[in-house]
Amino acid sequence: MRSDTENRLVREWLSELDRELTKLPRHRAQELRAELTAHLAEVVPPDAPDAEVGKILAQLGDPAELVTEALGGSRPRSRLQRIRLRTWVLLAMVLALVIAGTTVSLVLTFRYAHAADLDTSVSGWVFGGDDVKFVDSQAGDQTQSTIPELASRRQGLLIWVTNQTGVTQTVLSLADGFDLWESVPHTVRLEISTEDPYRSNKTDMNLPYTTAPRAIKPGETRVLRITSITACVNSTAGGEVQFDTIPLRVRVGWFTRTEDISLLSVYAVKRMYHCSPMTQYPSK
């Protein structure tokens, strides 16, 4: 038997149907086409003359009307109407996205901009291996701890910081220009514990540490270890440099800012003048 689609009139009719079927969802269009093709395959006799085929196609109906019927009997929207509708739908979606995106951005920006600094709960000195020379002295209700500054020993500060805000804060580095020792060659190292000291059985010196940058999630506590080695030693006559905060570069959302991390106490570091011969540094 000859395939229905071999007849020129049938082919034209199906081509017109295909153009109309674009108005239907794909799965429905495929189903309707399959049914009408099967119908034609059964009712168009092989080698039927064009007149007979034309009559059969007329009985089957106009493709546009059949598709209209599939759409529910209402005439489909014109191409221009459909383009306009699509444009409006697209514009509405873009507008909704822009509004939603702007709202989220504003809310986040507000949260990031108003997030409090990292909060200090403990601070202490990292001894350079000579803590037996640690001396406490009392003056009124003030206690002063005196710790020797040692050449060629790693010394510095330990600070427990907690992120009390609702957003993650990433410690990037010490702020530019921060030095532990004034006017002597040294490199300050910033490390951050990878564990929460409140949830660990280890002492803050024995926690595992990593280098910055390191994210501190909301509610987490981490220990900052800020240390340095110098070849110099202090002089009793050299005066001192005092600080009660450590400036850190911290990223909060899309803002990077300097947070002055409180030390809870005043630390006074003696100025150094007497350095070893290998790294002699001219005195002032």
Binding site: R28, E31, L32, A34, E35, L36, A38, H39, A41, E42, V43, A58, Q59, L60, G61, D62, E65, L66, V67, E69, A70, G72, G73
Partner: protein
């Protein structure tokens, strides 16, 4: 087949309204394939605007969950999509039967009064 070239718009709308329930009524008897439905409705005369009308109607009713369909490939026959009425379709046709009785009764009554 009796396609009337001079169908009035009202009759076309009337056909459109009753064709769905008629197809559901046929399917409520037993599952049928598309061409079978076309032929049975055509035999009744006056129900179809065109033979093809049945296919978009079936397509729409399947989308509405009134009928289901599946292909059957029986020996010696072409593969055909058979349609069956769903429970929802059955309820639909039952309701139409009741409405139709009331409707035709009212129309008959009015027409007799006017005649």
């Amino acid at each position: 087949m009796s396609r009337m070239a001079s169908d009035g718009a009202a009759l076309t709308e009337l056909r459109r309204g009753v064709l769905g329930p008629c197809v559901l009524a046929l399917l409520a008897e037993r599952p049928r394939f598309g061409l079978e439905i076309v032929r049975e409705l055509a035999e009744q005369g006056g129900l179809l605007t065109s033979e093809g009308t049945v296919y978009p109607l079936l397509n729409r009713m399947r989308e509405q969950g009134l009928v289901t369909s599946k292909w059957r490939d029986e020996e010696g026959e072409r593969p055909r999509r058979y349609y069956a009425v769903t429970a929802g379709g059955r309820r639909h046709v039952e309701k139409f039967r009741a409405d139709w009785l009331q409707f035709t009764k009212s129309v008959d009554s009015v027409l007799q009064l006017e005649g």
